[in-house]
Amino acid sequence: MIHLSSISFSYGRGDFSLHIDDFSVARGESVAIIGPSGTGKTTLLNLIAGILPVDAGNVDVDGTSLPTLSDKRVREFRIRRMGLVFQEFELVPHLSVLDNITLPYRISAALQLSPETRERARSIAGEVGLGGKILRNVRRLSQGERQRVAVCRALLPKPDILLTDEPTGNLDPKSKTRVLDLLFDYAKQNQATLLTVTHDQSILNSFDRTVDSAAFHD
């Protein structure tokens, strides 16, 4: 379960602040966060992931209070428990599809890249139609394919929590369906929590609940 209480956060520039009195997401629940741009949707995901530290309040994930952990512990917690899909895919341009999917294992000492993990990365890539492009550089992929690579990277460590930021933005309908199916199938099969920021009204029905980010402001 994810529970945010009495959260206060600002970027220091004074032009943006976020206040959340109480916000919870149950394990296995899928939640869509909607709202106008600049209302803190992405910031919320970053606070839950521990990428941004809260100014005040508590972020509790399955009984672990993230603000009380050291940077290293937060990072390890994030790596082991959370899968992140970013708005702009954030793939590393000089790496292949396979290398991007397995990148968390290469960049973090908390994960060990074994032959089994590599094989699973190939398997996941195959499931989303990238099996034939596994060694191709990601710059040579379409937008939809890149997004699928980003999703594969998030799913590889078998996270309990999926935090996805506009996972279907700029995708054609076919790619959109493919990516959503991938996320929901994974969440369902693994009892994973899915928290998605989106502007896409057409996908809201797929989620258990929708939250408006306007509620996070004074």
Binding site: R75, E76, E88, D99
Partner: protein, 392 residues
Amino acid sequence: MIETLYLIWRYLVYHKVKTGLVVASITLILYLPFALRVLVRQSAGELTARAEATPLLVGAKGSPLELVLNSLYFATDTPTQMKYEEFQRVLDSDLAVPVPLYTRFRSHKNPIVGTSLDYFEVRGLRLASGRNMVMLGECVIGSKMAQDLNLKPGDSVVSSPESVFDLAGVYPLKMPVAGILEPAGTPDDSAVFVDVKTTWVIEGLAHGHQDLADPSASAAVLKTEGNTIVANSSIVQFNEITESNADSFHFHGNQIEFPLTAVIAVPYSPKSGTMLQGRYLGGEEQVQIVSPTSIMNSLLETVLTVEHYAVAAAFIIGAATIATAGLVFLLSARLRAGELRTLHRIGGSTLRIRGLIAGEIAMVLLTSAILACAMTALTAQFGFRIFQFILF
């Protein structure tokens, strides 16, 4: 560690052009001062070795450096001359073995060195094929000249006229190649060695022509007065010394007055050398005696000073190159800000990400250093030979 190295490798391979350029720049800037130093040291060693193998040189008064460069490297087109009597003077002193040198003439671009067989002993030159010159007009040539002109014993080389406009000048002399020397890695490899008398033939101080007493030469005879026969210019002059015409070659004038460019003096002992040098200290002396080692050392001091300046310049250029490479890395890091942020977000620690960047820089520097070392080693092994090949 392996994973970090893999990521470094992938980045460098993907940006192979940029990486290649940076590696090439740093490699060159590391290589240049070392290569310069290696080449200068080897050249200095070679110069010194040749100078040390030439204990003393006697030559006409003038520039000692010019005398040494001409006698050791046959480098001067118009060397100063002295009389053959200076050879006799060293011989008569009984203090050193004299080796005559007359290096005025050339065959194409190759110097013709008029000397004696002692020269080969002093220089440690050995025959690769053929035999030594034993007859007037024969020559022994260096290995590089033989290779360049595809010459072998039995072939001939011809002396070149000093000026194509000097129609009344010396006759070209056709000289049969008696032998070819083993490679020595010195200017001797490009030289034509003949007996000093042969160079006097080239000079016109000796010549051979048809026998005027022979009836076939009657058309050329103008008048006969006792033992003196006066002939016109239609008389046949020989431009090659053969067994059949060798006897007809004769010298005009006193041999003691004939020219030399230098005499190598090999003293019997250090004391003999000192005594010999003392004999040339008189103010009225028309010749000088020099120690090539001390002259070359003076030259090398200048060369080494120039080398220090060149190395200093290379270091300044190196600093500029390293600064430029640093700028490239800095700009690259800025361009990669998004990528680095991603690495952080997906679990990379700041230390690990900095390590990745540092590793990329270290890999470039290490590769450059290894390449520079390899190139320097190759230069040490082959550079001087290439240098010699270009020069000699």
